[in-house]
């Protein structure tokens, strides 16, 4: 009947009404269908299964850190599949790129939570009963308890056995025990006491709250959404589906949920470290000045968005997750008409903001135009005449581009990545290996394409920010349940559940003999200290100012051992 028993429902409690181990095992041989079910259920809700499922869960979570995950990095997964044509598809079949929504990961945690419910419910019922029942009956031989001691109250103190037990009950009650006085007027009165019901309660609350956290996360997945949008200085974003660059709705998302607020990026300022040599050019501060409107009709509001400091609007939170340069270009086509004009978002690749960019000009006539290349905020030539970026601030901005003409392939209705140019069906005009060489532009300059295909000019630089918009209705619930869980956990781990009994009897020579014993339920390294504290209180009550006759051996108690029965004890024991 230690709590190391295999099954939770019987682990902690040997209260009357809970089935003992013997009864449980008796069911096993008579299997039958119902018996099988019961057996399976008992297996699933056993402590050992919970332990295994927990360990499986830990192991199963690991692949998600070894392989790229689709929900986080879809493009990396695609690349991985390209790079590993043999193993990739197999891994994909095993759902290694969707670990946390995979069948096997879900199976483990769903089983774990079923097992958890199967544990918590019977335990909660048993505990509810235990909380209402009286402390267990006083054992016949208190000396068998791990903490045990005796006191002798001299006859001249006039403390009868019944009085002593009334005192003991009062003292224990004040110490937080629930007490029952037994046989107060008999010749062997005793007190049964128990405390620390909050320990088990905490355990139940902890486990139950984990279900709450899981449900909250699920609610977030069902009704939440998130979207991404890059916003160049001067641009306005309206919270509608069409205005997002990408959008991931929850399973039960409804577009009517979106409140049509708007956000304009007025100015984006970056401060770089110019002070410490070891970190020169490292970003120190990103600051996005926004003008927001909670609805099309409401007043404008100035707000500042920073990293680690989201802006809340229309029930959503807006986060600053990236930034970069958007060179402003004008492209004229072969007919001399402006076919494209405006900022082009470039993707920074390093700390010096060496940024890749792609310009697609589908409106150019007679042939469509495309450009790929990079933007350098501060360009420097190396000895071979190759430009590289040396600083993240725009001290010497430069565009380096190759150009193409032909069919961009945009009309085929296929979704195309805006950041890559599919050169199939295109003819290259400019490039390092071509006679016309690559296009190199500084602000204010323009370049005429070979073969009369048009021209491109570099008009200026703007910055852009990458915004994430999140709505998660499960978030608050998850936090609340997590906090409750922690409270339960602390209670469960650090509160001790103890039982104490005190019994008295009167020696033929008139002395009142008192013995007490304590028992821990669960791990309790302070049981000896509790025994000593109770002893001290009893002594203070009856023996203060007197020499105490004692059988308690402090050394033995320190080792958690008990003292064999002393001479005084014989008279009160085993009536």
């Amino acid at each position: 009947m230690t709590k190391t028993d295999g099954d939770m429902t019987k682990v902690k409690d040997e209260e009357p009404g809970t089935t003992g181990p013997a009864a449980k095992e008796a069911v096993l041989p008579s299997l039958g269908f119902a018996g099988m079910l019961r057996w399976a259920w008992r297996q699933l809700t056993s402590m050992r299964t919970a332990l295994f499922l927990l360990l499986f869960l830990a192991v199963a979570a690991v692949p998600g850190s070894l392989f790229p995950q689709r929900p986080v990095n879809p493009s990396v997964v695609t690349q991985y599949l390209k790079d590993n044509p043999v193993t990739g598809p197999w891994l994909d079949k095993l759902q290694m790129f969707d670990v946390y929504s995979s069948v096997w990961f879900s199976a483990i945690y769903i089983l774990l939570f079923i097992s958890l419910i199967g544990c918590v419910v019977p335990r909660a019922i048993a505990h509810a009963k235990a909380m209402r029942s009286q402390p267990p009956r006083t054992p016949t031989r208190l000396s068998r308890l791990p903490e045990y001691g005796t006191l002798v109250v001299p006859a001249d103190r006039g403390v009868s056995a019944g009085d002593a037990m009334r005192d003991a009950a009062r003292i224990l009650k004040r110490r937080g025990y629930r007490v029952e006085l037994r046989d107060a007027d008999g010749d062997r009165p005793s007190v049964g006491a128990e405390r620390g019901f909050v320990k088990e309660l905490g355990n139940l609350v902890f486990h139950t709250s984990l279900i709450g956290v899981l449900v909250s996360v699920a609610i977030g997945g069902l009704f939440g959404y998130s979207g991404q949008r890059t916003l160049v200085e001067g641009e306005t974003f309206v919270n509608t589906l069409v205005d997002y660059d990408s959008f991931s709705p929850g399973t039960n998302f409804n577009p009517d949920q979106l409140q049509p607020y708007s956000v304009r990026l007025d100015k984006f300022t970056v401060t770089f470290d110019r002070e410490s040599p070891g970190h020169y050019g490292q970003p120190l501060d990103f600051n996005a000045a926004l003008t927001t409107k909670a609805s099309p009709t409401s007043a404008e509001q100035k707000q500042v968005l920073k990293v680690n400091d989201p802006v809340s609007l229309g029930g959503t939170n807006i986060y600053l997750v990236g930034n970069g340069y958007a060179p402003v270009v004008t492209v004229r086509d072969g007919q001399g008409k402006i076919a494209m004009q405006g900022p082009v978002v470039s993707v920074p690749t390093d700390g010096a903001y060496t940024s890749l960019l792609t310009i697609k000009v589908p409106d150019a006539r007679p042939s469509q135009l495309g450009f790929v290349g990079f933007f350098l905020p501060t360009a420097i030539m190396d000895s071979k005449g190759v430009a590289f970026g040396s600083d993240p601030d725009p001290l010497n901005p430069q565009l380096n581009l190759n150009s193409f003409y032909g069919d961009l392939g945009l009309d085929k209705g296929q979704a195309k990545n805006v950041f890559t140019l599919d050169t199939k069906g295109l003819t290259q005009l400019n490039g390092r290996d071509l006679p016309a060489k690559g296009i190199v532009l500084s602000p204010g300059k323009s370049y005429t394409l070979p073969q009369g295909k048009g021209s491109i000019s570099f008009d200026g630089i703007k910055r852009y920010v990458a915004l994430d918009v999140h709505y998660n209705p499960g978030q608050a619930g998850a936090l609340v349940f997590a906090l409750i869980a922690v409270a339960g956990l602390v209670a469960s781990l650090f509160i001790a559940r103890r039982r104490a009994w005190v019994r008295a009897g009167v020696h033929p020579d008139g002395r009142t003999m008192v013995e007490y014993g304590l028992l821990a339920r669960g791990e309790d390294h302070r049981l000896a200290a509790e025994g000593a504290a109770i002893r001290a209180l009893l002594e203070k009550e009856w023996l203060s100012g007197k020499d105490t006759e004692t059988t308690m051996n402090p050394a033995a108690h320190r080792d958690g051992q008990q003292v064999p029965a002393g001479s005084d004890e014989g008279s009160v024991k085993d009536q």
């Binding site: 009947m1 230690t2 709590k3 190391t4 295999g6 402590m47 050992r48 332990l51 927990l54 869960l57 830990a58 979570a61 690991v62 998600g64 850190s65 995950q69 929900p71 986080v72 670990v99 946390y100 000396s143 068998r144 791990p146 996360v217 470290d273 410490s276 070891g278 970190h279 970003p283 120190l284 501060d285 990293v307 680690n308 400091d309 989201p310 986060y319 997750v321 994430d468 918009v469 999140h470 978030q475 936090l479 922690v486 956990l489 602390v490 781990l493 821990a520 339920r521 669960g522 791990e523 309790d524 390294h525 049981l527 033995a556 080792d559 958690g560 051992q561 008990q562 003292v563 064999p564």
Partner: protein
């Protein structure tokens, strides 16, 4: 607020001095362990007579208790023999300080305190030099983490005689310092915007504190495994191959104390995980996204939850639980080193040149 380069250089000097002090402390602890095998022979002879009385008392007690009606507490699990059962242990199983004077061990502790003070000055000056908390990159995680490990150890030492762990703990702090100075050298600098948050202060300090606790329990669990092997071998009449383990308490008391420290570590790690989630919500808009670092934080949490369950599961206490505690710590180390250095993810702020 500016960077103070000069102070930063002083900080590095203090770190080096601390490293020297740790080295001497480490050697002292090792000598103490080695010498103990000699001294304990003498102690044993002396205590043999004295031991007879408590042994008798213990025997009487357990006879009286009987097997099945015994108390429920794990602490009282009778399976593992008490220290007096021929293990030749000198350390008190309650791990309180005994009367035995261990001069070398005292010197070692004094040296550790000295090292910790110098180390602390190094960490604090680093923080002042950078005008922020000194845990913003791998160098600082290592130097501050090593300090916390030592301080946690010294704090526990005030209550319990864990000097037998000294070689282990001081050795680990030393390794962390050396790693910081060789692999992760980073000059004093400002924080990148992603780290500019009060959550850095809260989340990382709790994480490092938990790691300090787990370091202690890891060492204890390793010793517990060694000790239980040794006890089994001795009981089978084999010669004592690990005489230095005499200084170490019994496997059971190691397990019990490790459990108590692990419960605290588990709670603080739960906070680490929650604070991390709160920070992630502030920084990236979602409180959980299975980023590499989040995955490993979760794995560690689940492993220690498994450990707590193991301690309540029949057949899983003792050696198996110790293995879980060890695995948990290996995950902590993995999370701190390999994940920080080699895995890309949102948490790639190790401050290493890429």
């Amino acid at each position: 607020m500016g960077i103070n380069e000069t102070l930063g250089q002083y900080s590095e000097l203090f770190m080096l001095l601390a490293g020297v002090a740790y080295t001497v402390a480490f050697i002292s602890f090792t000598i103490d362990l080695a010498r103990s095998s000699k001294t304990t022979k003498a102690v044993e002879a002396r205590s043999a007579a004295a031991a007879r009385v408590p042994v008798l008392a213990g025997a009487g007690a357990s006879a009286g208790m009987g097997g099945s009606s015994g108390p429920e507490g794990l602490a009282e699990r009778p399976a593992a023999a008490k220290s007096s059962g021929g293990g030749g242990l000198t350390a008190d199983d309650s791990m309180r300080y005994g009367g035995e004077r261990r001069v070398v061990a005292r010197v070692a502790v004094a040296l550790t305190v000295l090292a910790a003070v110098i180390h602390g000055v190094g960490v604090v000056t680093r923080g002042i030099a950078a005008a922020r908390v000194p845990w913003g990159n791998m160098y600082e995680f290592c130097t501050t983490g090593g300090l916390i490990v030592t301080v946690v150890f010294l704090l526990v030492l005030t209550r319990r005689d864990l000097r037998f762990l000294g070689t282990f703990v001081v050795g680990l702090s030393l390794i962390m310092l050396i790693a910081a100075e060789t692999a992760f050298q980073t000059p004093v600098g400002h924080l990148v915007p992603a780290l500019q948050s009060y959550w850095l202060v809260i989340h990382v300090s709790v994480a490092v504190f938990s790691a300090g606790l787990f370091t202690l329990t890891f060492a204890m669990s390793v010793l517990q495994l060694l000790q239980s092997r040794r006890t089994t071998a001795l009981a089978a009449g084999k010669p004592d191959r690990m005489p230095f383990m005499r200084q170490v308490p019994s496997a059971l008391s190691l397990e019990n104390l490790a459990y108590r420290i692990n419960t605290i570590g588990f709670v603080t790690w739960t906070f680490t995980l929650m604070f991390g989630a709160l920070w992630a919500e502030k920084a990236w808009g979602r409180f959980w996204g299975w980023d590499t670092k989040e995955v490993w934080t979760f794995v560690i949490w689940v492993v220690y939850a498994g450990y707590l369950h193991a301690r309540a599961t029949r057949g899983w206490t003792g050696t198996r639980a110790a293995w879980l505690s060890i695995v948990g710590y290996l995950c902590v180390v993995f999370n701190f080193t390999i994940v920080n250095v080699f895995f890309s993810g949102l948490h790639s702020y190790a401050g290493l040149p890429s």
